[in-house]
């Protein structure tokens, strides 16, 4: 009985200590795409400075910004990584919760690749092919958008092999999936003439939008856009909805967030294609090969010059109010933006990050080192 009471007292005591303690290591949250890079920096930071190693959590870009914007104080993270830019709605949320000053750092790019097993025939695709193969709605024979009828790649483009369309990709919660839908699917959709026209229509061209919507047969998307945006709905919003919806009849297979799993499934099934980040292609280049998209293979050079179109910027955001409260934040930021880390020969480049161009790098690093505030 005595031991029991002692145990309870000990538990109560530790509880009090924990609530009072301040934090002495940086807390980083955010994108699973930036995670492999941020963790390398965190590790080196801990080993080469007198500070503790930052703790890095992989919560996804949206999840990270949500935690980040919750407020100021040691219970909230100091840094969040994102595989897209902060949205204005998120920025407003931050402002509302007292996170007024944020430093934005663009660290480089990540290519999204469509790959198949080595040994299988390499694919040469255009973004339009990808759209026609994977979107939910594609133009039918009369120009109206219909449920995707394409079964094989040959149906999409006569130059492609007659293999079944089977694409393994991440689920809707993933930033990779969002970026893929935006860059490859919507990018391909825009090459359809009527969709391109619709995209250019402004909010005051209601009549024209409605005519085009009727011609394409996408009234449902238009209603959804109006519901969301009200009077401000424009052609672009409709295109966003129809361009980014992925077919659900089994051609696109949700394979979970684990990219290694997708690589293994590709090796087992040479007919399938898989969607994942460039760093996984880079690490598994003996097992899988990237498909050529719009004439460019997903190589390091093609992504950094922007020739390979399916790539996205990677960011991290720093809470300025925490600099000085949690030790090491400014040093971590400086180390992250240093030439050694993300310069053209930096160690993150060896890990598969695509570096910024020289001018872009100069601009970014001087802004980041001066801790310039983000304004949207």
């Amino acid at each position: 009985m005595k031991n029991l009471a002692l145990g309870l007292i000990a538990a109560a005591a530790t509880f009090n200590i924990s609530t009072a303690a301040a934090r002495d290591s940086i807390s980083v949250v955010g994108s699973s795409t930036v995670y492999p890079f941020a963790t390398v920096v965190a590790e080196r930071f801990g080993k080469s400075t007198k500070f503790n190693s930052p703790k890095v959590e992989s919560t996804g870009s949206g999840g990270g910004l949500k935690l980040f914007c919750k407020g100021v104080g040691v219970a909230t993270p100091d840094v969040t990584n994102a595989s897209r830019r902060i949205k204005s709605s998120e920025f407003e949320q931050c402002q509302k919760n007292g996170v007024k000053e944020i430093v934005e750092v663009l660290i480089g790019y990540d290519g999204i690749v469509l790959a198949n097993a080595k040994g299988a025939a390499p694919m040469e695709l255009t973004r339009k092919d990808i759209y026609m193969a994977l979107a939910k709605l594609v133009p039918g024979p009369d120009g109206k958008l219909i449920e995707n009828p394409n079964k094989t790649w040959k149906d999409v483009n006569a130059a492609l092999p007659a293999t079944k369309i089977e694409v393994l990709g991440p689920p809707p919660t993933s930033g990779t999936r969002d970026a893929f839908a935006e860059l490859a699917l919507e990018g391909g959709a825009r090459q359809v003439e009527d969709i391109a026209k619709l995209r250019k229509m402004k909010a005051d061209q209601k009549g024209e939008i409605e005519a085009m919507v009727a011609k394409l047969g996408v009234e449902a998307a238009w209603t959804a856009a109006v519901k969301k945006k009200g009077e401000k709905a424009k052609g672009k919003d409709v295109v966003k909805i129809i361009g980014r919806s992925v077919r659900e009849d089994g051609a696109y297979i949700e394979a979970g967030e684990n990219d290694n799993l997708i690589v293994n499934k590709l090796v087992a099934n040479p007919n399938a294609l898989g969607i994942f980040g460039f760093s996984f292609l880079d690490q598994n280049s003996d097992k899988v090969q990237g498909s050529v998209i719009d004439g460019n293979a997903p190589t390091f050079e093609a992504i950094s010059t922007g020739e390979y179109k399916v790539s996205r910027p990677l960011y991290f955001y720093v809470k300025k109010a925490h600099i000085g409260t949690v030790p090491g934040i400014e040093e971590y930021l400086n180390m992250f933006v240093s030439e050694d880390t993300i310069g053209p020969d930096g160690y993150l480049i060896d890990k598969g990050l695509i570096p910024l161009g020289d001018e872009q790098y100069e601009e970014m690093s001087s802004g980041a080192k001066a801790l310039n505030n983000l304004a949207l």
Binding site: G7, F15, V56, S58, E257
Partner: protein, 438 residues
């Protein structure tokens, strides 16, 4: 009369025939049933065997690590140090460029920038730090030439373990090294400088993004701290609850309600407890994220019902005669429980606790919610330091792009399974050893 006898014997014959027929059927049914059982067991064993062989075949190679013996001259001029240098001076010296220079001197054939980078990439990126620590430990090394056992980079390690000297076709080869690097490795192996040793790094280091430097120490310590918190909280609470409910509480609607709830809680998916922990401990009480303390709280909530149920069963199994004898000797109710019932029920309670702890050790889902799924390099030193646990480490490694993490993942699974088997065997042993039959 004779007719009657004939009729009776006929009836008997018919009954015997019928009996024989149904007996055959019943025997066949019993055989079938046994066979179903055997097939099920066989299937189960086959699955477990498949799992184990898969994990062991993938993970066994992670328990060795490739080292390369290289002669390094700690040149006083290049380092700008002397044997009399203080630790501070040594820390400030540029070991990075010293290390690169030493390698370049060894391999002058690496001419252009690319080849030089490929040459450095054969060794782990921590090599300069390791050299620095060597010099700090023994400053007399400065100016001397010694053989340093260098840790090979993960690509080198994988190549040497799986592809070297096997004449594999280009497709089967597991290697990210290029021809230039393979040439160097082949030379090194031929000169006898390369050696596979037991991978002590796996147990002495914490997590790292370099597979050759990654270890499970941080995760094991995190698991121990988390389980300690869980044990300290859940065992007394569960035992007190069980004793009260079993021995003191009146049988009424309220206690019935509590009992139903405890049984239900035992079946609640663990991720729900994670959400509860996030809402209560982190958001409401403002405790820090990713610490073993909160992890222990959450796992306590999860294991409490398991321990309460097994503790109650253990108390129920103590025969009433023990209590009656104690009362008969004039013991009070509390004395009866503490002096007689509790010691006799203890083995059962401990078994339940160990099984509950083993369950908690393998849990990831609730910890995801409270931020314990994180990359943490520093080994935790207390229950309020950021930490992760073994199953989370496995999850994180399985998701890493570097190929060499595949074998590390399987190795970590093997370590986790060892822990689980040990805990469960301890539970079985305790039961066998201390249990009393009435």
């Amino acid at each position: 009369m004779t007719d009657q006898i004939i009729a009776e014997s006929d009836a008997r014959v018919v009954a015997a025939e019928r009996r024989a027929a149904t007996l055959k059927k019943r025997k066949a049914a019993e055989k079938r049933f046994q066979w179903f059982g055997r097939i099920s067991i066989g299937f189960g064993i086959a699955c477990v065997l498949f799992l184990f062989t898969d994990i062991v075949s993938k993970g066994a190679s992670a328990f060795t690590q490739t080292y390369v013996d290289v002669e390094i001259t700690f040149d006083a001029d290049t380092l700008g140090l002397s044997p009399q240098s203080t630790e501070e001076e040594i820390r400030a010296a540029s070991f990075g460029s010293f290390f690169k220079k030493s390698l370049r001197a060894k391999y002058p054939e690496a001419s252009d920038r690319r080849q030089k980078r490929q040459l450095y990439a054969l060794f782990t990126s921590d090599m300069p730090l390791i050299l620095r620590d060597m010099v700090i430990a023994d400053p007399s090394l400065i100016g001397q030439t010694t053989t340093v056992s260098m840790i090979a980079d993960d690509d080198f390690d994988t190549y040497y373990k799986h592809s070297y000297g096997k004449n594999l076709s280009a497709e089967d080869k597991v290697s990210r090294l290029n021809e230039f690097q393979e040439g160097i490795v082949d030379d090194l192996v031929e000169s006898g400088a390369v050696e596979r040793k037991f991978n002590s790094i796996l147990f002495s280091n914490s997590d790292s993004r370099e597979p050759e430097l990654a270890g499970i120490r941080g995760a094991v310590v995190g698991s121990i701290l988390t389980l300690l918190v869980t044990l300290v909280l859940s065992f007394p609470i569960a035992v007190a609850t069980a004793i009260y409910l079993e021995e003191f509480a009146p049988k009424n609607k309220i206690t019935d309600f509590i009992e139903v709830n405890i049984n239900n809680l035992a079946a609640v998916p663990s991720v729900i407890f994670g959400l509860l922990g996030l809402a209560v401990f982190i958001n409401f009480f403002g405790m820090p994220r990713s610490v073993p303390l909160v992890g222990g709280f959450v796992l306590t909530l999860m294991t409490l019902p398991t321990i309460i149920i097994s503790s109650r069963a253990a108390i129920k199994a103590v025969p009433p005669s023990i209590r009656e004898a104690a009362y008969g000797m004039g013991a009070s109710k509390v004395q009866t429980v503490i002096h007689h019932v509790l010691p006799l029920a203890m083995p059962g309670m401990l078994t339940g606790t160990i099984i509950g702890m083993a369950q908690a050790l393998g849990e990831t889902a609730p910890l995801l919610m409270i931020g314990m799924v994180a990359f943490i390099v520093d080994t935790p030193t207390g229950i309020t330091d950021p930490a992760t646990v073994l199953p989370v480490q496995i999850f994180l490694w399985s998701d890493s792009p570097e190929r060499a993490f595949v074998e590390k993942t399987s190795a970590a699974i093997m370590v986790l399974l060892t822990f689980l088997i040990c805990m469960n065997s301890l539970a079985v042993w305790l039961r066998k050893r201390l249990e009393r039959r009435w």
